[in-house]
């Protein structure tokens, strides 16, 4: 297997407040990794370092290369700031995210990601009136536009009911199987992660431990 991301001795702090140190992990191509940990443990901070919007205080992070530049990462942030008074349809919301495509590709590409996220039938519904799960799928669709090798979802299931959680995770499972899409998913829902992810990076006590999701035991990790 090839590595898509490798982190070595990563450390981060804000001012004199340390968030984590000595974080080591690799994310393999085609894997499904859960980033676990309580609120404030550093999950989003790690993602922002991966996305290159924050610089680590120490250590380094490698992102794989392809023939034409670095591997592409799609990102679904934890919070969104969208004015739902605008009667934007799901389709036009997804279209917003395609500024890099030429006109000819544009519609086809949007149709393709709507299809992949199973939104085609409801593409003309208002985003503002869509359910939480449909919104997350719309955000996912937008993040898939650029055909990423890796997709990172930050707390995508945090406000979803159990059925919507299952729908979203099954969709991610299918994308992982059929498209070989690598998935990184933060959550505090251990059972959900156990059912759908295969690796974990667990933040606690100012550092992170890693391993295979089936061996994850909260009892051992909790202090």
């Amino acid at each position: 297997m090839t590595e898509i991301i490798k982190a070595k001795d990563l450390g981060m702090s804000f001012g004199d407040q340390d968030v984590f140190e000595n974080v080591n992990f690799t994310i393999e191509k085609g894997s499904k990794t859960a980033i676990l940990g309580e609120n404030g443990s550093g999950k989003t901070t790690l993602i922002r370092i991966i996305m290159n919007t924050l610089y680590p205080k120490s250590g380094w992070l490698m992102i794989c290369d392809k023939e034409n530049g670095p591997c592409k990462i799609g990102y679904v942030p934890q919070f969104r700031d969208i004015d739902h008074d605008f009667p934007l349809s799901i389709r036009s919301f997804v279209e917003l995210g395609a500024p890099m495509f030429k006109n000819a590709e544009y519609k086809a590409r949007v149709a393709e990601v709507l299809d992949k996220t199973e939104l085609t039938e409801i593409a003309d519904y208002r985003l503002g009136r869509a359910s939480g799960g449909q919104k997350q799928r719309a955000y996912l669709a937008q993040a898939l536009l650029d055909n990423p090798d890796l997709i990172i979802l930050d707390e995508a299931t945090a406000s979803l009911d159990p059925v919507a959680k299952e729908t979203l995770l099954s969709l991610l499972d299918r994308l992982n199987e059929t498209e070989k899409l690598t998935i990184v998913f933060t959550t505090h829902d251990i059972e959900l992660a156990r059912a759908h992810m295969n690796e974990y990076i667990f933040f606690a006590n100012g550092t992170a431990t890693t391993g295979s999701m089936k061996d994850f035991d909260l009892g051992v990790h909790h202090v």
Binding site: M51, N52, T53, Y75, V76, P77, F79, R80, D81, I82, D83, D85, F86, P87, L88, S89, S92, F93, E95, L96, G97, A98, P99, D124, R126, Y139, Q142, A143, D146
Partner: protein
């Protein structure tokens, strides 16, 4: 009414103004920057007064001040937490400055009135040509950056997640906003130009399902306002700006109430 030259010019000018402010307004509303349009109107007034003081055309003073002001105030408001109080301090300062310039240039109060409240007889052939050129520049910039501008305006966080240079795109937006304030002030005056930059787009935000449709609604509503306003002003001899604001407010209220009923 078109038998008068000045009415033809006013009609042409207000058509251009409605198209430009209607489209730019959609971004203003999406970015939640109505207060900035308002502040820039006041900065524009000071700029126009400065131009009067220098004895050059008010439009150039306005452009200068609003361009500097939008980058300054816009940059400030993107950063500081004390948006409201710092912005009202800046507004107050510029209104004061405008009054000072007008008074030391010894210009008549009629001049001040037409800068503040607009005037339909103030636009001549050269004025229309200037508006044509400025509007074309604004619309061209929007056309070039259209998709990036809409993405960063409607979904800032998504645009950041796609690694768009949101800072630079915001700067481009601030520049077209400044130009639109200067353009819009020509007929409706600097005091009320923010109406054209906020109300038609605020109404449109309840109406169009896609961004282009929102722009069409916004331009349409702005056009209804300025055309009807011009005609009513011509018929009644009352200020055009009064009618334009009245019409835009009425349309907004109708659309908003309709939205509440159906929400």
């Amino acid at each position: 009414m078109f038998s008068y030259d000045f009415m033809q010019y006013a009609f042409l000018a207000s058509t251009l103004i409605a198209i430009t402010t209607g489209i730019v307004g959609v971004f203003v509303v999406a970015r939640n920057l109505s207060f900035l349009a308002h502040t820039l109107s006041e900065i524009g007034f000071a700029g126009a007064a400065f131009a009067v003081f220098l004895n050059i055309q008010p439009l150039w003073g306005m452009l200068l001040f609003t361009l500097l002001g939008s980058v300054g105030v816009g940059g400030l408001s993107l950063k500081t937490d004390q948006k409201e109080s710092s912005i009202s301090a800046i507004s107050a300062f510029f209104i004061g400055l405008g009054i000072l310039f007008l008074s030391i240039s010894g210009s008549t109060s009629r001049y001040a009135t037409s800068i503040l409240f607009g005037s339909i007889i103030g636009v001549d052939f050269d004025g229309v040509m200037q508006l044509v050129i400025l509007s074309i520049i604004v619309l061209l910039i929007i056309a070039i950056f259209y998709r990036k501008l809409t993405f960063t305006s409607f979904d800032t966080i998504g645009a950041q997640a796609h690694r768009l240079p949101t800072g630079i795109i915001s700067l481009i937006f601030l520049i077209i906003l400044a130009m639109s304030v200067s353009i819009g002030s020509q007929i409706v005056g600097s005091l009320l130009v923010f109406i054209l930059l906020t109300l038609p787009a605020s109404s449109a935000k309840y109406l169009g399902k896609t961004v282009p449709k929102m722009m069409m609604w916004s331009v349409g509503i702005a056009l209804v306002g300025v055309w009807l306003g011009l005609w009513l002003g011509y018929m009644t001899n009352l200020p055009v700006t009064f009618f334009i604001s009245l019409i835009e407010v009425i349309i907004y209220l109708i659309v908003y109430l309709y939205h509440l009923k159906n929400a």
